[in-house]
Symmetry: C2
Subunit: 347 residues, 2 copies
DNA sequence: GACCTCCGATGAAACGATTTAGGCACGGAC
DNA sequence: GTCCGTGCCTAAATCGTTTCATCGGAGGTC
């Protein structure tokens, strides 16, 4: 009985094997792969046949070693569990696909260390470029990437200097829209439920809220700021409990939350504690994720063009990769308020 | 005035440059990188200094070409927008991180073509192994991967043969749990809102539902099956409209949905059309995603150990990669019903 | 028949890391 | 003084692909 040769690891066929099988030279196989028009039809078919027979799979490491470039981009997400970022990722993916590149998604999960590890690895992989929503936009590792030749585009964050392209949404405006909407509805005491101040978004949205409040001539102390540890559903619930604890005189009649996760948590806590939305508390969220509209009391929210955000970011990156005269650009999208039952229902 | 040398692309430093700068040979630099203990302290420090000065970044392509293996895994997700899969991904990531490997996430978005492109590319990259929730578990491309030496673990799906490891949850049991719960609550007419029958999960959960129904001795025609195009929030809403269209005599008093997205859509449609949950319609979902508990009427749902699913899958893959005596294994987790207000509230 | 052209195929030289077989210097033991 | 270990380092081969200068032969022209 014959013993299977090389039963250990079959180690896949190389161009050399293909060349031998097809009876041509190495260079010809490579031509079939990369410039099929330079090879005669009969030879090409013979080579393709050999590839199929041997189960040849091109070794991307060797290819990119030789050519000095890869066919991939990467997006380092801040939180893969937040639908906002997965929608952004989808926009990026569409652009990458259109350009014939593949996209790797990495999740930093809000942890600097994890982000750093991903970046180091991507740099070693020599990806064409990196899109990132950074834990900290001022992280010097980002500068180091640029210096060492890996283009970086910052997504949904901005940075003071301009050695990067970035794509973001005007969060100050978003904050204004939300609070103006509440003021128009007649609310005189409003809570701003934010995440930690370390997040630029949270600061900007709060700033927009304050601006709108001041312009309406309302007393600053009636815009109550609640800080949360993290912009999550659980923290939104906790914020709801803090609101209940306030005396009726000081209790806001409306809340603007820094994102939809917070808003959904707050919504749930409010309803399950027996109060009504928007009767006892009107709620505005931010991001307009799909679940916002699907909440049992559909959530008024500030919509960001998530997919466009991703697409535009990828386009900027591709331009930077392809065009030596590329100029860095800071794109700012305009958000839009989507009013739904959580602020519109009868009180 | 001096002209910046090589102003085009700086082309990063190689081990050769480091060796020249540090005044040692190439091999020594490699030793510093891979077996620092074999290098004297003074030499090592000199080399490390040179690396820092030159901004040396190891070229992973060259490394993996030479060593024949990479330091990465990949998870090809079916739908990155579904929190269920992002939670699974997190479990995988934890295991990968623990093993010192990096994880690439790819999103097939339910499209075979996209999935195929990702798989081909990953194979060319020579990733150590692939975890996948496939569009079609019987896709021959998966067999081809195995044949050509890339280990594959199937996640949240199963396959008849056993040339793969797989990790899944007992969906028949999950379906039973859901419907038994509704029967216990006294419902005599129940809808099963499923996705397309092409999805194994949808079939299995439906099968469990039918089993429970039959065992309770209830007439089969009172378990109404509604098929949806896709298991999404929008389709859940549409299903709600179809339910409303039924005559009061034929209209179910409860619905079991094949996943939480469907359930949330159905919940929203029901409430916004002026009916109550669970009064007019009790609802059970599946997956117990975070948003299920956060819905304004918290959703009863069948919980799957999502993160454990991912972790275990990654462990199986790592075992397959590392252990030549590896035996394929089909792990099946047990789901659990989490009862909440959407079935428990006063009618 | 000599010469030129053009197409297609060839083979060797890279790319940047790892690995392995050796080489050199220094010290200690006899 | 010779011999042998030991500790550190060097030099060269290698991984699989792409690229580029080159070569051979078929066909056309004078």
């Amino acid at each position: 009985m014959a013993i299977t040769p090389g039963a250990g690891t079959p180690r896949s066929a190389s161009v050399k094997d293909v060349a031998a099988t097809a009876g041509v030279s190495l260079g010809t196989v490579s031509n079939v792969l990369n410039r099929p028009d330079r090879v005669s039809r009969t030879t090409r078919e013979r080579v393709e046949r050999a590839m199929a027979d041997l189960g040849f799979v091109r070794n991307e490491s060797a290819r990119s070693l030789r050519t000095g470039s890869t066919q991939s981009l990467a997006y380092v997400m801040l939180d893969a569990g937040n639908p906002f970022f997965t929608d952004v990722a989808r926009g990026i993916e569409l652009a990458a696909e259109a350009a014939g590149l593949s996209l790797f998604l990495c999740n930093s999960d809000g942890r600097s260390a994890r982000e750093g590890a991903h970046l180091a690895h991507l740099q070693q992989q020599r990806v064409q470029g990196i899109l990132i929503t950074p834990v900290d936009p001022d992280d010097p590792q980002l500068d180091q990437l640029i210096e060492r030749g890996t283009p970086v585009v910052i997504v949904d964050r901005t940075r003071a200097g301009s050695s990067f392209c970035s794509v973001a949404v005007d969060d100050v405006l978003g904050g204004r829209l939300a609070v103006e909407h509440l003021i128009d509805a007649g609310h005189k005491r409003v809570a701003y439920v934010g995440g930690p101040e370390s997040i630029g978004q949270v600061r900007d949205r709060g700033e927009g809220a304050r601006q709108a409040w001041a312009e309406a001539g309302l007393p600053p102390e009636d815009l109550v700021v609640l800080s949360c540890e993290a912009p999550t559903v659980a923290c939104g619930r906790a914020a709801g409990e803090r609101l209940v604890g306030l005396s009726a005189r000081r209790r806001p009649t409306a809340a603007f939350c820094a994102n939809d996760l917070l808003a959904l948590g707050l919504l749930q806590q409010t309803i399950s504690s027996g109060r009504t939305v928007p009767g006892d508390l009107a709620i505005v969220g931010y991001d307009d994720i799909e679940f916002a509209a699907a909440a049992a009391v559909p959530l008024t929210s500030v919509r960001q063009p998530r997919q466009d955000l991703g697409r535009r970011a990828a386009e900027l990156l591709l331009d930077e990769v392809g065009d030596p005269t590329h100029q860095h650009e800071q794109v700012v999208f305009t958000p839009e308020l989507v009013a739904r039952a959580s602020t519109l229902g009868r009180p």
